[in-house]
Symmetry: C2
Subunit: 419 residues, 2 copies
């Protein structure tokens, strides 16, 4: 009764589902555990930094240690996220396993001494390197290797931010601008769910962000949608500016300091100088929480008062200085901070709800800088709830359209150019 080709197709799909469960769930559980260890260490390091403010003055030395260790033992691990994206595009020698402990330790050291960096780079590298080690152990074909590497990225991203569906879509969307890799739907979703789950099982909790504005639904607020669109254009330009200035700053540092070991000395001294010139330590570290109740933090930017008109600029300055001079960590949590701070400032100028604009900047700037509008729309929904879906989509899609063809991932290819 049922045609034979259908039975064959169902059998093939069942095999594929079971295969991806077996190939990705164990490695995703490992990646989720590594992310839990990373987030726990990061929290301890941040705590220690607040308890011992003088650690900041050792930042140049810490940077020398990071660069020396990478130079001595890192090998190709210094390629970071770009190496992983390259290995997915064209599976070759793989991602070295040493990348995992190196990036975890280097990111924690960066944060312990006050560097301004993020988490997603570390999580993606943990995921990519553990997944790549697994593909070599299991002697997978190049086609399967690509998919397991993508699954590793999804697991790391989903676990570190507690947003599994966004993590899956991120891995599908980040490789090539303007394309979603449907062939990896199942491996990436399984890995992101297992990664997030494992990380939670270790007792890790994620920061909650609340947007109370707009609960009445968006149908009554056309004027607000116009303001959101204009803000999204600015988020797009902000994301583009962050990418371009980051790349230019790194090139400038390489030209000014041909000796790699001197670069973090320059970066560390600059950060110490910024702290003294601005008279605040609020832009050091991750920026998600602070021991000082008066400090500017990521959740605090969702509140209208006090008003911080230029915190986005200072956070960008601190982050670009940190990452361009050899310290380690991701760009994404600083991008969340910069975006939320930009939204916070625009809300004051535009007379729009601060929490909504901070949340839209949070995901919009990232959508622009990483060229991942669908993943960031899902991330906004997973973090802020479904009530704001139309605003979130406008912020991410419009910011993406306005961020040009560059991005924070240099290995990202151009699939479908923007109009």
């Amino acid at each position: 009764m049922i045609p034979r080709r259908l039975l064959a197709s169902w059998a093939a799909q069942t095999r594929a589902l079971l295969k991806w469960l077996c190939l990705t769930a164990p490695v995703a559980a490992l990646i989720g555990s590594a992310c839990a260890l990373f987030l726990w260490s990061l929290d301890r390091a941040t705590q220690a930094r607040f308890e011992h403010p003088t650690l900041l003055y050792a930042l140049p030395l810490a940077g020398i240690a990071i660069v020396w260790v990478y130079g001595r033992f890192g090998g190709r691990a210094d390629g970071g996220n770009n190496l992983i994206v390259d290995q997915i595009h064209e599976p070759g020698a793989g991602v070295p396993l040493r990348m995992a402990p190196l990036i975890l330790a280097a990111t924690v050291v960066t944060h312990l001494f006050g560097g301004s960096a993020g988490r997603e780079g570390t999580a993606v590298q943990l995921g990519g390197s553990l997944a790549s080690g697994f593909t070599r152990l299991a002697k997978l074909s190049p086609a399967d290797t690509r998919l397991v590497l993508m699954a590793g990225v999804a697991a790391g991203f989903g676990a570190v931010f507690g947003t599994p569906v966004a993590g899956a879509i991120f891995a599908l969307e980040v490789l090539s601008l303007g394309q979603v890799r449907y062939e990896a739907l199942l491996p990436c979703l399984i890995a992101a769910l297992v990664g997030d789950w494992t990380c939670h099982a270790w007792g890790i909790e994620h920061t909650a962000y609340i947007i109370a504005a707009g609960e009445g639904g968006f149908h009554l607020q056309g004027w607000l949608l116009a303001k959101v669109t204009l803000a999204a254009v600015i988020f797009g330009l902000g994301g583009l500016a962050f990418s371009e200035v980051s790349h230019s700053a790194a090139a400038l540092v390489r030209r000014l300091c041909p000796q790699p070991l001197l670069r973090p000395v320059l970066g560390g001294l600059l950060l110490i100088a910024f702290v003294h010139i601005l008279g605040t330590r609020d832009y050091l570290g991750l920026g998600v929480w602070s021991a000082d109740p008066g400090a500017i933090t990521l959740p605090g930017l969702f509140q209208a008062a006090p008003y911080h008109p230029f915190s986005w600029l200072w956070k960008a300055l601190f982050t670009i200085t940190t990452l361009a001079t050899g310290f380690k960590g991701g760009e994404v949590t600083p991008l969340f901070f910069i975006g939320a701070a930009l939204g916070h400032a625009l809300a004051g100028v535009m007379d729009a709800p601060t929490d909504l604009l901070a949340g839209l900047g949070f995901v919009g700037l990232f959508a622009a800088a990483a060229n991942t509008p669908l993943a960031c729309t899902l991330m906004g929904i997973e973090l802020f709830g479904a009530a704001h879906t139309p605003y979130i989509a406008v912020a991410c899609f419009v910011a993406y359209a306005f961020s040009g063809h560059s991005g924070i991932y240099l290995s990202q290819r151009i699939g479908v150019p923007k109009a």
Copy 2:
């Protein structure tokens, strides 16, 4: 300071944003208004059907009238959704404007006399035909014509279901299996938002579906996730079976009744016979609400009691009979009903929350039958809230993987084959 190429790119993007606002917002407002008129008429027709039960016996005659009018005046309008998808792939003579009034009237007549059909086909055809008329009036280039047609589909879909972001993604995803058309992000999002907004502005309200289960978060319920995965496999097979049986039934009817005017007579008589054999009228019409408080309705399927183990089968039988014999309307609201009914039945077998499984069947069966997993994930979120995002993604992605390469839209092309 700012490189000239960036300024040029920003100017180009601003022009693009303004261009798509001008090209799509007015036509989307028109489509949203047409959808409001359609939904209002459908409601009146359903009301009239409950007030005058004998109308059912005129169903064969009503079908003859529909087929005669299409044959006499329809021209290429009888191509329906497939004509629109074809014209987006290869802009040619366009979609005739007469498709809009014809499909609106034919769908309302189908429902007035008790045919079991849906709304999305009608909304997509209203959108495609009005958008196509506009592209001819404005003498747009073939490239712009494609994008405005896609925007018309997004506007119709977003407006008719009250899910604008899902509407936008649907238009980007439905053309080719396994691909998202990033070049149309902005036109489709603008059109879907404007379409939905306009429809609401006319006072149309959409049915609310509540899933109370799983509010505690999915991290504690691994066993439930396993049940959801298994249910999703069944939703995928269900979506595939619906597509295949629909196409086979239409072919069979064409062979049995070479005279097109006789086909709806056959269909109408069969539906009358089914009503008398089953002793219920619950599977006639849209199935979203009923004048009879004891009837099986789409929102009622979200409740555990009373238990309906085979309502999915009967609704499929009624719908396939209706649509294969020349009556008009969409497949999607019946697919929602069939999916929710299948989820309702599986919840009983699997000892899982009925509301959750009904909601997942609602979007999962549609994801499988239309090959649009991302759009259906967003639709689930827009309808049921963000708390269930991981379950919704599993239901839509897994159901998609298991539905093979056929689907309800015959003009859909295969972009990236399934594994």
